[in-house]
Amino acid sequence: MTGLPTSPLPALLVGFPILLAILTLFFRPGVKALVGLAGCLLTALLAFIAFVEVTQRGTVIHTPGGWDPPLGILLRMDALAAVFIGMTALVGGFISLYAWRYLRAQDPATGGYPLFWPLWLFLWAGLNGLFLSNDLFNLFVTIEVISICAVALAVLSGKAGALKAGLRYLLAAITGSMAYLFGVALLYGSTGTLDLDHLGQVLEPGTTTTFALLVVTLGLLIKMAGFPFHFWLPPAHSNALAPVSALLSALVVKGAFYILLRLWMEVFGVGITYAAGQLIGLAGAIAVIWGSWQAFMQTSLKLLVAHSSVAQLGYLLMIFPLLILPPGVTADSADWLSVTWTGGVYQVISHAIAKASFFLSAGIVIMAVGHDRIESLRDLVGNMRITSMAIGLAGVSLIGLPPSGGFVGKWMLLKGILLSGQWWWAPVVVAGSLLTAGYVFMLLRLAFAPAREKEPFRPVPKTLEVVALLLAVSSFLIVFPADYLIQFLENSEIFGSGIEAVLKGGFYGND
């Protein structure tokens, strides 16, 4: 690990939000929100600085206390981490602004759920830490911090539904963690290392390895609500407060995906078979169809949006079968690898932005009409122009219609599918898009329809509407830096031991 430039920024990205989270505890509720918001915006700013730093200097590292691994821990910020950290900052920043206004309006008596701020800051620190971690145990710690904060945030409203859903969420999260930890223990037992780079080099094929990888993958699938482990997501995400729903759907589940991507591409060269790749792809495909169909059938607005998340996460799982070379195919001819994984990352970003906007808009509508039946959208266009636009734009991006970010993501995914010759995934993408169009336009149709009775739309703070719209517009604007981002990812030497080795024909045995 020597030779890479060091920078204090990775440490700051984790330390600063933690510091702020602790600091907020000392203030009275009203001030707490202000300090929390300031902390969030500063964290976002810090993340942007760090992002720019990586674009300028390439991968940077930080070893707290100067101890190199395996004794100390190493924070490594490469292009992939930088992109995820940047995404968290962008989406998280907007959500923080929204939360500041939203929570105050929801609960003026206690100063607007004051516990939100320390929890969210801890969660943010956990996410940054996860993106920067370079060993299996650190990843475990960060994803635990994230899970605990996420569950606590999900039950913040204290309503019965939220508590029940939160309990289910907690159980799922713990099960996932245990599976992950068990797999990690097995890997540590057989190799004696937890460092990702090192592990990638020393891991040898065998029953233990395969089993360990399966268990780790299983744990992560539970955490990212991959089919059939998605059952906890819709109730948890739909019962939370609007800004929390947005955080959970846009960012938290992406943490588990990030680990999965890193492990599969960087470490798991040994032991992953073509069949395993197909299986995880199949889970993704079912999630796309099932989740979209479920979303289509919902009568409650937030449940619809939550089921849509299950489907959209399915698309992310569908990139994994493409990353495993089929028997007999040499790495040299696998020209779809880079379009597939960069497309997957791009899809993560565009979904995060669009879904956050969608949940925030749902929160606004619910605040305005007082319930969350989708019927409440009737005549939304006539009453809340800005929110209608936000829902329309975010919805179009979710469908993947041009010129949205979702379109670029779907384009790259479909291109990877067709180039790899695994054409059987293509109908899934098509069907998923149609179903998504089905539920998005179901909402828009209602929004355009005239009101049945004089349904009162209560006035809603303009700030909320504007934030949701800004995010929705961002889900289109990210088309402009798409080329830059994708090249940034492609040109970086992220998967030093993984994908590079694949390309050299090093790892993947033709089983």
């Binding site: 291109k415 067709l418 169009a437 336009f441 994708i486």
Partner: protein
């Protein structure tokens, strides 16, 4: 080719920015909205005229922006694209005037005009697209911007029509998406006109390229309303008259037809398409649609519905012209893009005027309407004669070229299709003309006639008269340089020289 010009972008911006600005206005800001509308429309016509002149003197206009590796947004002007752009921008200006008159005092005018502007942005974008992916982007953008126009009235009927419209167009768009990505996976980025790419790959990937051709064709066939993908068109007649006029004459159906022209001439190339028998399949579907649309039109009593089925039939003339190889049929197809646009927009304006002024929506109510609205129905009559193919109206020119070309290509069955279709056109248009001029008006409405006044609002009357006259003159002066026909011939010469 490498020089970048912002002019094509400016043509798009001239309607995109007014559209977005109108969305932010308040409903009562009538003057501002009208100013933005007209400013955008006039600016667009001027810009298109300018680049057209520049193009003729040998200038090249390209605008290229990379969205992702292999995903390039490219605007490039060629003769065919400019031809379509000129049609869109000119008819937009006229329709904008009409819509201002038509929607006077209506609800949600901001929304209407905003999406109206976005819709024209999409259709000029389609015209100026330099490659397949840019075409696709605007093709989908067109779907999204027309949906709010179709459901504009907000009635249950309109909302249901919007649902049908979306299922067809989103479904078609998704199929098209699959086809376009497939083309990129097999052949890499394809700019319009680079037919050599497919030509060099066709022997290596015959199956894949055949499947992809028909996927793309099916995607385009939805908007071009080719049987059995036409179902959305008659239903979406619930939209306000200016929308129907625009959907039928320029924007949506033409986007499909124009796409088919691009696909055959500029992506696969006529040679490959003919060799692989793609064209004969297209010909069969197009011919069937021509007859089918006309037969269905016969049975409609709703004025706009009859016009809608007529559109289904007329658009397939373009597809059929493309499908019969030969310079004459191709010229007929391309000139019909414009001729059908002029005639059909006249008819919809006329239908709108009648409905707006007297509330008549059924053909059975049109007795004697010609005496009350002589200018409107005069224009309608010209357009109807044109549709039937009576010389010297524009439609005659198209049909003449198409028929002559079919004879030259030895496809006599196509000639029969044209003859049958003309007879059917006469059978469903002449009764309207007859009722309007020769039947006695129902007596209770006669009292509403007043002398010394225009037959309807000036803003509704002027557009229909202008497009009626254009339908006549573009046929009458077809031989003059600068007529639609002369430009179509130049475009075709280029394809057949290569």
């Amino acid at each position: 080719m490498e020089t970048t010009s912002f002019l094509p972008l400016l043509i798009l911006i001239s309607s995109l920015v007014p559209g977005i600005m109108i969305l932010l206005l308040r409903e009562e800001q009538f003057a501002m909205r009208t100013f933005l509308n007209l400013f955008g429309a006039v600016a667009k016509v001027a810009l298109v005229g300018w680049v057209f002149a520049g193009y003729l003197s040998g200038e090249e206009y390209n605008f290229i922006f990379r969205l992702a590796p292999d995903l390039t947004f490219a605007l490039r002007l060629d003769a065919l694209g400019l031809f379509f752009a000129a049609l869109s921008s000119a008819l937009w200006l006229i329709t904008t005037l009409y819509a201002i008159g038509y929607l006077e005092g209506g609800l949600h005018r901001n929304r209407f005009f905003a999406f109206f502007s976005l819709c024209v942005t999409a259709s000029t974008g389609i015209a100026l697209s330099g490659n397949v992916i840019t075409f696709f982007i605007f093709y989908e953008f067109l779907t999204l911007s027309t949906y709010p126009l179709v459901v504009h009235k907000g009635t249950d009927e309109a909302v249901a029509a919007g649902r049908t419209y979306l299922w067809y167009t989103i479904g078609g768009g998704t199929i098209l998406f699959l086809g376009v990505v497939g083309l990129y996976a097999v052949a890499g980025p394809i700019y319009f006109g680079q037919t050599e790419i497919i030509a060099s790959l066709i022997s290596e990937y015959p199956t894949q390229l055949t499947i992809l051709f028909f996927l793309v064709l099916a995607g385009l066939g939805v908007k071009a309303a080719i049987f059995p993908l036409h179902g959305w068109l008659p239903v979406s007649m619930v939209a306000p008259a200016p929308v129907s006029a625009l959907l039928h004459a320029v924007a949506v159906v033409k986007a499909g037809a124009f796409g088919i022209v691009r696909l055959v001439y500029d992506v696969y190339g006529i040679g490959v398409a003919e060799e692989m028998n793609f064209l004969s399949v297209l010909a069969v579907f197009a011919a069937f649609t021509i007859i089918y649309g006309s037969v269905r039109a016969l049975y409609q009593n709703d004025f706009k519905k009859r016009l809608a089925y007529s559109t289904v039939s007329q658009i397939s003339y373009i597809a059929l012209g493309v499908a019969i190889p030969g310079a004459l049929t191709s010229t007929g197809a391309i000139v019909h893009l414009v001729h059908q646009g002029l005639m059909k927009i006249t008819m919809f304006f006329a239908a709108g005027n009648v409905a707006e002024t007297y509330g008549h929506k059924k053909i059975s109510e049109l007795n004697g309407i010609g005496r009350r609205m002589p200018l409107t129905m005069g224009a309608f009559t010209i357009a109807a004669f044109g549709m039937i193919g009576v010389p010297p109206v524009a439609g005659f020119i198209s049909k003449w070229y198409l028929g002559l070309g079919a004879v030259e290509a030895g496809s006599y069955w196509v000639v029969l299709v044209f003859l049958a279709s003309s007879a059917l056109n006469a059978a469903y248009f002449l009764p309207i003309v007859y009722r309007a001029w020769f039947c006695e008006p129902d007596h209770e409405v006669v009292e509403r006639l007043r002398s010394g006044r225009l037959e309807t609002q000036a803003l509704l009357l002027i557009p229909v008269v202008v497009t009626g006259i254009l339908s006549l003159t573009s046929g009458l002066f077809a031989a003059v340089t600068g007529s639609p026909l002369s430009i179509a011939r130049e475009i075709i010469e280029k394809f057949y020289l290569l």
